[in-house]
């Protein structure tokens, strides 16, 4: 029977026996699987595991690929040494790929000059994908430097079929707009792009909102108010750019002297977020305009309202600062899911208002990202610990020391991870408090302005009242004079 089965095995057409180096290729393709799913952690652990067992033979090109995984996982120190080694390779292709990743490393670290210098060392041609990324990086660097023509040239070098096409078209349009080119035509291009994006994923909606908001502000700057309003209206109301769009709308309406509408929107905005510049601005600008339109009574009432509003804001901001310091908001403020799914965040409570305030601050997002990265490491250490606990009974004498060392390593590393989590938690809090404090200072300035304007009003009103009193007295004097004259007239006539 056994021989019969063996015969079947030998005759099976689809069963192929492979060679040894295929094991290495298989392990590399497994690393690729994790990398392609953005799971850099598992990609690197698989790499470490297979190299230690001598089961992975990497050519220089694959070494550069591994370096790119380390780079994506922000392990810069490791990447630098890997690439420094690879740029000495004999193959021009390997050297170029390594220069490319080294340039990317500089770019990621915002060392723009070093990035450009490194890219210039590439002698031959990169792979199409690397070439695309290089052009995009050059384009974005040029926009930041204000070299808009170069930016457009670089970005145009990327093919239209690229997966980055929407991002590239967006940046081309922005570069041309910043240069002062025809905004209307570009606005149409961007609108088409945004509409196309809206058919896609949640992230595409965020991108579409970004396009609309940017367009709104560019058109506002160009004094094309009606068009600006059209774009601000297109922004998703529960999206994270909703407050920015409303803010733009308020500025536009103020420019158009439609103060009642601007005020209504300001009141809407107050409910959505705290410490918003547009609202503060509206509270100062609106009474000023009313005053100039000679609607003194309304202007005064508005200044009075502004003083109360800024006072309340100061109290509220202090309250937010204290609660943030105490960690009352940590549960929400450090939740990366909330940032990722910002469009689902539609509540209107205290927390939602604070979240809308901080969600646009890059530094805070960075702090939350780092915090969650450490949380992930903690989870991975916990998982490893439980896996070890499960196999404890099966561990033989020869593996006992290894087992103990593994548990000790997990415990000591967990302590360091926890310390880092605490640090990032403190930093995120510190940053939010700092941002709130800046707002507090701004509000204090606005309060001063409102009080000053109100005081001037009172002074003026007092002077006006005094003047009225004087005028009244003068009138009375005049009347008395006239009456006296009228009374004296018959006597005078008699005497004559």
């Amino acid at each position: 029977m056994k021989h019969f089965l063996l015969l079947i095995i030998l005759l099976l057409p689809n069963l192929v026996v492979a060679t040894e180096d295929e094991v290495s290729r298989l392990y590399l393709s497994e690393i690729m699987y994790h990398r392609m799913l953005d799971n850099n952690f598992d990609a690197i652990t698989r790499y470490l595991y297979t190299t230690e067992k001598n089961e992975l033979e990497l050519n220089a090109n694959n070494q550069a690929y591994i370096a790119s995984i380390y780079l994506n996982y922000d392990l810069h120190s490791q990447v630098k040494s890997m690439l420094d080694y690879l740029i000495k390779n004999d193959s021009p292709l390997i050297r170029d790929t390594s220069w490319f990743y080294l340039g990317k490393l500089h770019y990621k670290n915002k060392r723009i000059k070093s990035a450009v210098d490194t890219f210039s060392k590439i002698e031959g041609k990169l792979s199409p994908e690397e070439q695309e990324i290089k052009h995009i990086m050059y384009g974005v660097m040029a926009i930041n430097d204000g070299r808009y023509d170069t930016a457009v040239d670089e970005l145009n070098k990327v093919g239209t079929a690229s997966v980055f096409a929407p991002f590239i078209n967006y940046n081309i349009a922005i570069a041309r707009m910043k240069k002062g080119n025809d905004t209307v035509a570009l606005a149409e291009t961007l609108t088409k792009l945004a509409e196309g994006q809206k058919k896609g994923t949640a992230l595409s909606y965020i991108f579409a909102d970004q396009i609309y908001t940017t367009l709104g502000y560019v058109l506002l700057q160009n004094k094309e108010y009606e068009k600006a309003k059209q774009y601000f209206r297109k922004v998703t109301l529960d999206g994270h750019l909703a407050t920015r769009a409303l803010q733009g709308m308020i500025y536009t309406l103020s420019e158009q002297h439609e103060y009642a509408k601007a005020l209504n929107l300001s009141l809407q905005l107050i409910k959505m977020t705290i410490g918003n510049e547009a609202i503060h601005h509206a509270y100062i600008v609106i009474p000023y305009i009313l005053q100039r339109l000679d609607d003194t009574e309304k202007a005064m009432a508005f200044y009075q309202h502004a003083v109360e509003y800024f006072g309340q804001q100061r109290v509220e901001l202090k309250n937010y600062m204290n609660k943030t310091r105490r960690g009352d908001f940590d549960q929400y403020l450090l939740d990366i899911e909330k940032i990722m799914n910002v469009n689902d965040w539609v509540e209107d409570d205290e927390m939602a208002r604070l979240f809308r305030f901080v969600s646009t601050l890059d530094e805070w997002r960075d702090a939350v990202y780092k915090y969650n990265e450490m949380k992930y490491l903690q989870k991975r250490l916990d998982d490893s610990f439980y896996e070890l606990v499960i196999i404890e009974a099966d561990v033989q004498a020869e593996n006992r020391a290894r087992y103990k060392k593994s548990l000790d390593d997990i415990a000591s590393n967990k302590k360091r991870v926890q310390a880092s989590i605490k640090w990032h938690q403190q930093y995120a809090r510190h940053f939010v408090v700092k941002a709130l404090n800046d707002q507090y200072d701004d509000v204090t300035d606005y309060l001063g302005q409102a009080r000053f304007a109100l005081a001037q009003f009172y002074d003026r009103e007092e002077q006006r009242a005094k003047q009225l009193e004087i005028d009244k007295l003068r009138q009375q004097e005049e009347q008395k004079k006239q009456q006296a004259e009228a009374a004296a007239e018959p006597v005078r006539k008699k005497q004559k």
Binding site: K2, L15, L48, K370, R380, F385
Partner: protein, 177 residues
């Protein structure tokens, strides 16, 4: 009144500004610490995984099965189920992103276990969609003879251009007699 303002300003310069600078410096220091922590955690998790594999699935009986998806003209995988000698051993579902990764040349480990030396029957059920987006299931059976030592095999989905249909192969990479 001015005295109070100056006092506050001085306090701000003395306390707030250095605090912000100190925080920025600490942030840089923490970034270096985080790099070390990440590297160490990677090593520790890798060591633990290695130990779990060595203890849980000793090399002499260890068996690993991977899935690769060479081309996807006639079939797009959504689920794979592995049966060994009549018993369900593993099942894995693929979303779009995972399928795309496979189509771009990556491989996924669908099974790791301990299997004795000798002849075994492997039944794999591939679920997915065909060219017309119809959901289809294809089952394939293979027999193999395992040698003492690690056994590694790959299930490969590809296109059979001649027959205009998908092809399912079983390729032994390591450990066959």
């Amino acid at each position: 009144m001015f005295k109070r303002v100056y006092k506050q300003l001085l306090l701000w310069i003395l306390v707030v500004v250095p605090a912000s600078v100190a925080m920025a410096n600490e942030k840089e220091k923490q970034a270096v610490i985080d790099q070390t922590i990440k590297l160490e955690t990677l090593r520790v998790v890798k060591d633990a995984a290695q130990l779990v594999e060595d203890v849980g699935y000793p090399e002499i009986s260890r068996m690993k099965i991977y899935l690769s998806h060479g081309a996807g003209k006639y079939f797009g995988i959504s689920k794979v189920t592995v049966q060994l000698d009549g018993a369900d051993r593993a099942s894995y579902e693929y979303n779009d992103k995972q399928r795309q990764a496979l189509l771009r040349g990556a491989s996924n480990r669908v099974y790791i276990g301990s299997v004795s030396e000798g002849i075994h029957e492997l039944v794999v059920v591939f679920e997915g969609v065909d060219r017309k987006r119809n959901i289809i299931k294809k089952a394939r059976t293979w027999l193999f003879d395992k040698y003492p030592g690690e056994f590694i095999a790959v299930l490969n989905v590809s296109d059979d251009e001649g027959a205009l249909r998908p092809a399912f192969d079983f390729k032994i990479i390591k450990g066959e007699k």
